[in-house]
Subunit: 493 residues, 2 copies
């Protein structure tokens, strides 16, 4: 059954009917918006449709019925260079609404399927993967409490032609009809099939499509308003039920990567000094190669307190060009970050092609500190393994090389370093009460680390255990891992 053809395009509404409908409606919309605001529910409304179907007008109608303090319109244009050199979804992840607010998209991530050159990756990404990415994106938002409403404004080929001609006749609007519009118009039937496929592949319970007959704008307006009211109501109800859902069941963790780590590994100072110079020089060379080839590199450093993450990173970037890398320290989220999906603050920091981003702590906080300290609910951190894998796969699809280091020490070594910090005035600031408290939770943290390593060790984003009881060994291991993988990657591409 065709979603497009099922729609009766002849439906109409008179001016009087529309005015009466709208008068009753405006108060309704305001109430709904305030209700969503109070419940902290973000709302995403997508407008897609044929050229000249009336997206602009309908968006403005909707906008005017809403409190402008809670809503933002995003127009999706051809990617600018900042967008072009990042994963396609970057520009949408960075624009998701915060809790209790609303975002309206005039064209959206669906442009990747129906607008030429909107996503440079589409030439080599299997179309199934492209749909998977979009479905995952919507599912992740929905799981976080977002309401997603998607409109496709439908008009016939004949009606489109009539509207283009009318726009062309008026000198004020003639510029809006381009050659590309006419080209697409001529291929209406082909696009019809493409759109059908898109609608059916991305029509889900958490983000359903609504095809709106749009030849009569008043009817379309009414349909849009009614759908918004109905969908927000329906989904708010679903949210309440979802809160009562039982805990997710994940398959058991069947092996420990930490158990197998040999923390006695060490390197002498002489050997370290000799190797360090070679690998730092090589990294500097590879950094430039990465830049010239427009690859990206994402590195994640996770590890125990005092395991030596900071020092390890410092040696890694010692000879690198600061224009090519950035160290991104991750602390507790600020209030803007807390008001968004937890992955938002990492998406906003995804590096441009050609650059290295080194995360000192990362999104894995969701399944470590947030899990152990109870900042994330059980189902939230359990869900996070899959969400993180999906995000990393999107990066990998884009040609990002991902390194994830677990910087490992044992309890004894940590105690020694804590005491050393307390004794050394220049290091005293590095040790806090919180470090001692975390240390007491070593056993639950270790369990969480093992589960994280097990569930998120993927072919496209594998973990490397960096044995760090001996810091010199740890630094060389990280450096060598990066150099070898980069060399391999640069040769095979």
């Amino acid at each position: 059954m065709s979603l497009l053809d099922a729609v009766d395009l002849a439906q109409k509404l008179s001016k009087d009917e529309y005015v009466a409908f709208m008068d009753a409606l405006e108060i309704n919309m305001g109430q709904l918006q305030r209700q969503a605001h109070e419940m902290g529910v973000p709302i995403t409304i997508v407008f897609e449709g044929w050229g000249a179907a009336g997206k602009g007008r309908l968006i403005n109608e909707l906008l005017l019925a809403l409190d402008p303090r809670g809503v933002k319109v995003h127009s999706t244009l051809a990617p600018n260079p900042e967008e072009f050199h990042r994963p396609f979804l970057w520009r949408f992840w960075t624009k998701i609404p915060e809790k209790g607010r609303m975002a309206i998209y005039d064209r959206s991530w669906y442009s990747r399927f129906i607008v030429e050159k909107m996503d440079p990756l589409m030439e080599r990404l299997p179309v199934k993967k492209a749909y998977d990415e979009v479905n995952c994106f919507e599912r992740q938002l929905s799981d976080d409490g977002h309401i997603i409403i998607k409109f496709f404004l439908h008009i016939s080929r004949k009606e489109q032609k009539k509207r283009f001609k009318k726009l062309e006749k008026n000198p004020m609007t003639a510029w809006r009809v381009t050659d590309y519009d006419w080209k697409k118009h001529k291929q209406y039937d082909t696009y019809h099939d493409t759109i059908e496929e898109m609608l059916s592949r991305t029509d889900s319970d958490y983000a359903p499509w609504h095809v709106i007959p749009s030849e009569n704008w008043r009817f379309a307006g009414m349909a849009v308003f009614e759908t918004v009211i109905h969908e927000v109501g329906r989904q708010l109800k679903k949210r309440k039920e979802a809160q009562k859902a039982p805990a997710m069941q994940l398959p058991p963790v069947s092996k420990s990567m930490l158990d197998r780590a040999d923390l006695s590994k060490a390197l002498t100072r002489e050997e370290y000094d000799r190797q360090r110079k070679i690998y730092q020089q090589r990294l500097w060379e590879l950094e430039h190669e990465v830049y010239l080839r427009r690859l990206s590199v994402v590195m994640v450093y996770e590890g125990w307190d005092a395991a030596g993450k900071g020092g390890n990173i410092k040696r890694l970037v010692r000879r690198m060009d600061p224009r090519g890398y950035e160290v991104i320290p991750i602390a507790a989220p600020n209030d803007a970050e807390l008001a968004h999906h937890y992955l938002w603050r990492f998406w906003t920091k995804i590096p441009k092609a050609g650059h290295f981003a080194i995360f000192d702590r990362s999104w894995y906080g969701r399944v470590l500190v947030e899990r152990i300290e109870g900042f994330a609910k059980e189902n939230e951190w359990k869900r996070a393994y899959q969400e993180i894998n999906e995000m990393e796969e999107v990066l990998a699809n884009q040609g990002t090389l991902i390194f994830k280091f677990w910087v490992d020490i044992d309890q004894e070594e940590q105690l020694k370093r804590f005491k050393d910090r307390e004794k050394t005035p220049a290091k005293l600031w590095k040790i806090t009460e919180e470090d001692w408290r975390n240390r007491e939770k070593w056993v639950p943290y270790r369990e969480a680390v093992d589960e994280m390593l097990y569930r998120t060790h993927t072919p496209y984003a594998p973990w490397t255990i960096v044995e760090s009881n001996n810091k010199l060994y740890a630094r060389m291991k990280a450096m060598k891992t990066v150099v070898k993988a980069l060399e391999k990657h640069l040769i095979t591409r």
Copy 2:
């Protein structure tokens, strides 16, 4: 006396001397950074210099001596489209460090004077104005407590040639030397004069230049570190003294714009309906003209509680294309905003050329609510009049049309509207305890409004009083003001 030629380029440091210097230094830098962090002082470090003078290496040396959690490097490249279509300073205002953090710029706002096509405006902006903008920018940051340290890395023409040749010989680095670099090299003497002018015009007590002899990188490194330590120390001391400064004296307010407002002005419903349609249609046309001509429009709505700002804006945008305008409601600042200069959150919202930004409340909060409620100190809000005028002048220089509406009602009318809101269930959410509290401060608010109107009514950004006891009259006045000014502006350009 030439700032460049005064420098002895032959100065050197041996490897052993450098290592000894650096060992003593690293702890020092960390302490300084933590001290600035605790005091909430932002630090801005600018690196300018000849091509191949070693900016990258020196920045990395500095970076490695710092805690990466507190510092961010910004490379200034040719403007991307987002930057190209906004005032030149936009890309730097949006990147200022927050309190207690550090930003390092690899090339900076000085590129506008020494790098071709970095600022599209420079072709028609008088050079004095361009320098004024930059000096105001630095003075505003400094007044807000920022420490600004500016380096110019100096090498001779001969040394530059040697370095370019060396880079070209190595296949890994040959791509870094471009034709443009050689072109600039050949014009070394011309650039020498340009740089001299730039240094002398922008060397100030609040943001002094430091010319670093950079032919020996170890000597340059030492000089950079010593300067940073000395300058941070010096300026932190100055900050403490500045806190004891007496209150600023401003010239007296010699007239009241509010007194002259005739709040009895009114319009009948019939007249309103007739005019509204004409002007809304005209605005829609002008919106497209603004878009095609790549102008920008900034509108500020300020006014008493319940004066009808929201409703006025709604009617203004009723027929406009949502892709061309944005309504930006300004509420109390969030924590990220509080951690920055108060103008930062407005700079980040400056519209792209071709677009309208309508601010529902604005930067004028600094001299209204922040003044009255004591959120800003006396010298802070007194300083703000000039800062705001300077910001608006930068926008105007760029070709932005600025409208500022004071939506005015009297106390009696406000009381009537408050009571009406309390009686109407659908409007009840619009009235809070805070509105009643603000009302009690009518007299001090009125004084602040009058002072604001008097001090910030400029030729490039004039205020319009919108008499709003009668809402219909107020809506038409705003619409007509915009339409007339746009028509005039579009014709004269």
